[in-house]
């Protein structure tokens, strides 16, 4: 059985035919969403541990982007919010420990690099067809920069 799939994208929609495994029958549009996402995220047999090496990069990246975003907002509260309320309006809490700075760097750098990946994918479509590799590249870049900037402290 063939499915006619409609994907809503930022400035329009893409329509194409695919089979029941969401594999497109015609050539795939360069910025099509990963069709396997539903199967990987919602229809997975969770007890099959081996299947988890096959993950949905877009879904994992989205979840991590939200989590790191909330963590960074929490850091702004500790860095500026609490000192404002407890000491003086312009007071600042700056971390003294290297470990805390490196941990903050890892959260911030993932959020930043993943944000850039997102912008590039949204505006140019680049990387949308190789989501897993680009996501792994984002993680690698964040890790490399965390180590490099931590080492320079």
């Amino acid at each position: 059985m063939y499915l006619l799939v409609t994907i809503r994208i930022p400035f329009g929609r893409i329509e194409f035919l695919c089979d029941e495994t969401y594999k497109p029958c015609a050539s795939e549009p360069h910025n099509a969403t990963d069709m396997r996402e539903n199967r990987l995220v919602y229809e997975r047999n969770v007890t099959d541990i081996g299947s988890w090496s096959d993950f949905s990069p877009n879904h994992v990246a989205f979840a991590l982007h939200r989590i790191t975003g909330w963590l960074l907002l929490g850091w702004v509260f500790v860095h500026l919010g609490l000192p404002s309320l407890l000491e003086a309006p312009t007071a600042v809490y700056a971390p003294a420990s290297k470990a805390v700075i490196v941990a903050l760097f890892s959260v911030f750098l993932f959020h930043a690099f993943n944000g850039v990946r997102l912008l590039v994918a949204e505006f140019t479509g680049y990387g949308a067809g190789a989501a897993k590799r680009v996501f792994q590249g984002t993680l690698a870049l964040a890790l490399l920069f965390t180590i490099a900037l931590g080492g320079l402290l």
Binding site: Y2, P10, R66, G69
Partner: protein, 110 residues
């Protein structure tokens, strides 16, 4: 033939102004936060010039303002994806927006 529609997040759901603002503030914040971290943690690599030039205070105020705007839009995007009623979403994002704005003004005047 069976027809399937896959819903993805688009400016249609978030609002075009919010969607564009969220991304524009993200791009500017990359540079502003790089300067902030450079001045605070790596002054020996030339960043001390930013501090001595006298524009650092203005840059910090801009960073906080844009960061709170970016954070507010992120909180709002999360709220829009929840299953609470539209009235609750409007009320909650309004409260968060006012708290962020009050905090920004409080620090700026302080």
């Amino acid at each position: 033939m069976k027809t399937t529609t896959l819903e993805t997040r688009t400016p249609d759901d978030i609002g075009y102004f919010a969607w564009v603002t969220h991304r524009l503030t993200a791009i500017v914040l990359v540079f502003l936060l790089a300067i902030h971290l450079g001045v605070q943690l790596y002054p020996q690599y030339g960043f001390v010039a930013v501090y001595t030039s006298g524009v650092y205070g203005t840059l910090l105020d801009s960073t906080l303002g844009l960061l709170l705007l970016h954070g507010f839009l992120g909180v709002r995007a999360t709220l829009l994806e929840t299953t609470v009623t539209d009235a609750t979403k409007t009320f909650a994002s309004g409260v968060v927006g006012l708290v962020f704005l009050a905090f920004f003004v409080f620090r700026l005047l302080g």
